[in-house]
């Protein structure tokens, strides 16, 4: 049998259908079986979209490469949502929190990608992104405790390399946050050299950096998510938390 040849419109239709179908299942009460199955289904779609994107890059089609990056990041955001649902059901609350933040960050890259294609005139795509963001916001507000304070480190690090060309970041012309033919520019392989300070702030850049313990009304130290007492009791002014996160999104 001849393999079916697909064009960009087919990819677009399949993308839209997979997102609409997945969003229908995006409820806090979704079973772990469906959350896992959705996450697997979307992971497959992400891999397809990445492979189409690299085909577009190799053909020199920047327009299609950027559109495919947008589709990829929207799919990754929804995938992160289902991953968060799954982690909650598995009592992996900190991982679920990380997946929620991943979802927001993927949506931000999706916005950049679609604006690169159509400027600010991408109303349909941008409103679709807002629908997904609102689901994630409601999930965050409904399921997680509020974090009023976050950790915000200041550190000295190496310059690192460019995610676009793999050169030392000082040596190339690529700019962080810009999109170059379906690829998102960030500094990679950065190595911390020295921590200067850890501040406690209300508005951090990375909301993964939370306090993971607090004290209940009885003064016991408890896990911030499960409210279970910590293994080792902590003094009143002692907390545990995520101080720094070096990971990143799987965009390219």
């Amino acid at each position: 049998m001849e393999p079916k040849k697909i064009d960009f419109l087919d990819i677009d239709k399949e993308f839209e259908a997979s997102i609409i179908e997945s969003i229908e299942d995006m409820h806090f009460t979704v079973s772990i079986r469906i959350a896992e199955s959705r996450a697997d289904f979307l992971k497959e779609k992400i891999d397809y979209l990445k492979s189409y994107k690299y085909q577009a890059i190799n053909r020199g089609s920047e327009h299609h490469a950027n559109l495919l990056l947008y589709m990829q990041c929207v799919t990754q955001a929804v995938h992160s949502g289902f991953t968060a649902f799954k982690f909650i059901r598995q009592n992996e609350n900190l991982k679920a929190w990380g997946s929620v933040i991943d979802a927001y960050e993927y949506l931000d890259v999706a916005i950049r990608a679609i604006k690169k294609v159509n400027g600010n005139s991408s109303k349909k795509a941008l409103s679709g992104i807002e629908v997904i963001r609102e689901i994630i916001v409601q999930f965050e507000k409904g399921v997680f405790p509020s974090h009023k304070l976050y950790n915000s480190p200041g550190l000295v690090e190496t310059i690192g390399e460019c995610s676009i060309c793999n050169q030392n970041f000082l040596e190339c012309d690529h700019v962080e946050g810009e999109i170059y033919s379906g690829l998102y520019c960030i500094r990679t392989n950065r190595k911390p050299l020295d921590f200067e300070h850890f501040a406690v702030v209300e508005n951090p850049r990375d909301r993964r950096c939370i306090f993971t313990t607090r004290h209940n009304a009885a003064g016991e130290s408890v896990d911030i998510f499960s409210r279970e007492p910590t293994k080792e009791p902590k003094e009143k002014n002692v907390f545990e938390g995520v101080m720094f996160y070096m990971g990143g999104l799987d965009v390219n």
Binding site: D108, I159, E196
Partner: protein
Amino acid sequence: MEFVELDREPFDVIDEQQVTVLPEEGSGVRDGAYSSTAISLYKALNGAEIKTGFLTNPERLLEQRGAEWFGPALLFFTSLYTSNPDIFSQSMELIKHHVQGLYPSAPEPKIRLNVNIQQSKSKKTTSISYEGSVEGLDILAEKLEVICRNGTEEN
């Protein structure tokens, strides 16, 4: 929106016709490191044909994980303003666009930026620190122009 204006020691820079990106000052590990935003801003300014250089070769970067954009300190000479009176509005417009691109879902991204103006003849140097939204960069540009014009009259 907050502006703090101070006099400070002059800088020893060879090319007065470029915007100079300055390293961090202070004691300890930050001294001599550049803000983690410095290299991208340097590339973005040069990409917009605003000639820009570093005071020293960057080797280490200071990464600050607040929600706001921590810009690198910048240095402009009054002779650059004399040869291009639009230099501040062009540079601040570019920074505004650059930061808005980095925070696509923030309606008004917050920034922190320090800009130094050095009088080409007297070497008197004024430092302005700005904290606020990207929209306030227009006002910062106007303040920088006033400092340059006043300094030129004094010279």
